[in-house]
């Protein structure tokens, strides 16, 4: 335990870094993902094509490469100087852009699980487009989107560690700092693993309880 309590400053900074990456990246991913997901189910063929292109391109790109492009290739392009804040912002962008494709896919498959008959029945009752969406389709889609969306966020939490390779402080880079203080790297990394298992279990528990609350009853 000494590894933790003697170096609380490093651990708290690292945990904060991970949480910032997680929440900011997640927020960006949600916004971008909802836009792209809407494009992918929209009646506009060009928007569908652009959405599909984006999703299939980014899904086939390693996250490390996305980080590499954002943190190493973008600053010289935009004439930025690589300070701590700039690389944190770029890291958040990389995570957001990458995770957005998975959010978009979760939304698309969620909307597609609603049977066509539901909307047809709603229209047969005389509901307008807005009513069909808000009263019939989206409430059902929302329920089936929850479990895959939580999986996306669990993956995002684990992906924040990649930022450690690009000198952005988070739980993945704790080893780096504590090695300088002469701590045992093996023990430090085991503790990092424990923290991650705990965080993932927490999110899984949240996922399960949300799933039970909004179960699809068909």
């Amino acid at each position: 335990m000494g590894v933790i309590f003697d170096n609380l400053d490093v651990w708290s900074e690292a945990l904060l870094g991970t949480l910032v990456l997680f929440f900011a990246g997640g927020a960006l991913a949600l916004v971008l993902g909802i836009i792209v997901g809407a494009m992918r189910v929209s009646p506009v063929p060009i928007a569908r094509a652009v959405g599909t292109l984006y999703v299939s391109a980014i899904r086939n790109t390693p996250l490390t490469l996305v980080f590499f492009a954002f943190v190493f290739a973008l600053p010289p392009l935009l004439g930025l100087r690589l300070t701590g804040d700039v690389s944190l912002t770029l890291g958040i962008c990389a995570l957001g852009v990458y995770t957005a494709t998975y959010v978009a896919e979760a939304i698309r498959s969620g909307v597609n699980t609603v049977p066509v008959g539901q909307a047809e029945a709603a229209r047969a009752l005389g509901l307008g487009f807005g009513q069909v969406m808000s009263l019939v389709v989206l409430p059902q889609a929302f329920r089936s989107v929850i479990p895959p969306m939580m999986s996306v966020f669990i993956a995002l939490l684990k992906n924040t560690t990649v930022a450690a390779g690009f000198s952005i402080v988070n739980l993945g880079s704790v080893r780096n700092y504590l090695s300088e203080r002469g701590e045992n790297a093996f023990i430090v990394i085991l503790w990092v693993m424990v923290v991650f298992v705990a965080l993932v279990l927490l999110l899984s528990w949240l996922q399960r309880s949300l799933e039970n609350r909004w179960r699809v009853a068909r």
């Binding site: 009646p43 086939n60 590499f68 190493f72 392009l77 895959p148 999986s151 993956a155 684990k158 430090v188």
Partner: protein
């Protein structure tokens, strides 16, 4: 295309869709235009920036790095498939004392970020006297993570089979091993093939993490060549070239996955299995959906 969300558009909707289409094109063009402008403004199109890529040596090194990426992927893929089967069969065991440890191992491996696992192998193990090349750190970490994910995929495939399959196996006198080997696994693997290949794409993508623990793969070389002042520090051209190679490799593998999925969807045997697995769903579910609905993809399908 019939969708829940909209009818066949009328004249008003057609006009509105055209406007939205034009706006989409304009936004995309603006982004591309901005990037091209910045590339041109920072002199990325000059011959000097690309001069590094006129040397045979550089391309030989890129080839070498690609081979390093692929060899780590090949070893990890084979190992992960093998481990996946072992863990899946362990978790499906009838004996609680076998099932529990396997379940624990699978859950822990899946919860740990692959990169942290690589750190443990590469930086942590030397402390307790086990030194290894970055290659082995990458391969072992990928095997452990993807093996446990594949174990869950295979398990879900077996559990989605109708009960009658194993019952009839026992009825004709097969034992547990026989039922598993001759009846359940072949069907489960067929049904889950697209998911398994998709997980292999994830494995290929994750080899890029080796860059962070100094495994000399493609990104590592891109960083190296991008920092050579003698050829004008071509970090952006290097990123473009290496990125293109990575994306092409992954796209080829994804294409194979799609091909397999299409072939499977045509095959009547698997469709029957899939339909039986999801009686509550509407007809024509795809495998990805089954995975999502069963909560299988908990935190794997979408990993790195």
């Amino acid at each position: 295309m019939s969708s829940v969300l909209y009818d066949v558009p009328g004249p008003k909707a057609v006009a509105r869709n055209r406007i939205l289409g034009v706006i989409t094109i304009l936004v995309v063009l603006a982004i591309i235009g901005f990037l091209v402008w910045r590339l041109a403004a920072t002199g990325q199109f000059t011959a000097q920036k690309w001069s590094a890529f006129t040397y045979t040596n550089v391309w030989a090194s890129i080839l070498e790095a690609t081979v390093a990426t692929l060899s780590a992927f090949a070893a990890a893929a084979v190992g992960a498939l093998a481990l996946g089967f072992v863990l899946a069969i362990g978790r499906l065991s009838d004996h609680a004392w076998v099932r529990w440890p396997f379940t624990a191992v699978i859950e822990v491996f899946r919860a740990i970020p692959v990169l942290v696992f690589m750190f443990l192998l590469y930086y942590g193990f030397p402390v307790i006297g086990v030194r290894m090349e970055p290659y082995w750190a990458v391969v072992i970490a990928l095997i452990c993570y993807n093996g446990s994910v594949l174990a869950e995929v295979i398990r879900a495939g077996v559990e989605s089979l109708p009960r009658g399959q194993s019952e009839s196996g026992y009825a004709i006198g097969l034992r547990k091993a026989g039922v598993m080997r001759l009846i359940l696994l072949p069907q489960a693997i067929r049904a889950m093939m697209p998911v398994i290949i998709a997980q292999l794409v994830v494995t290929l993508k994750d080899t890029a993490l080796g860059f962070i623990i100094t495994y000399p793969e493609l990104l590592f070389y891109a960083k190296y060549i991008g920092a050579q002042p003698s050829v004008g520090s071509p970090i952006i051209p290097a990123t473009i070239i290496v990125g293109a190679i990575y994306i092409t490799l992954c796209l080829v593998l994804s294409f194979v996955a799609n091909l397999v999925e299409k072939r499977l969807r045509r095959s009547p045997r698997v469709t029957a299995v899939a339909a039986a697995a999801q009686p509550a769903q509407q007809a024509g579910t795809d495998t990805e959906l089954i995975v999502a609905q069963r909560g299988l993809g908990r935190h794997d399908g979408t990993s790195l």
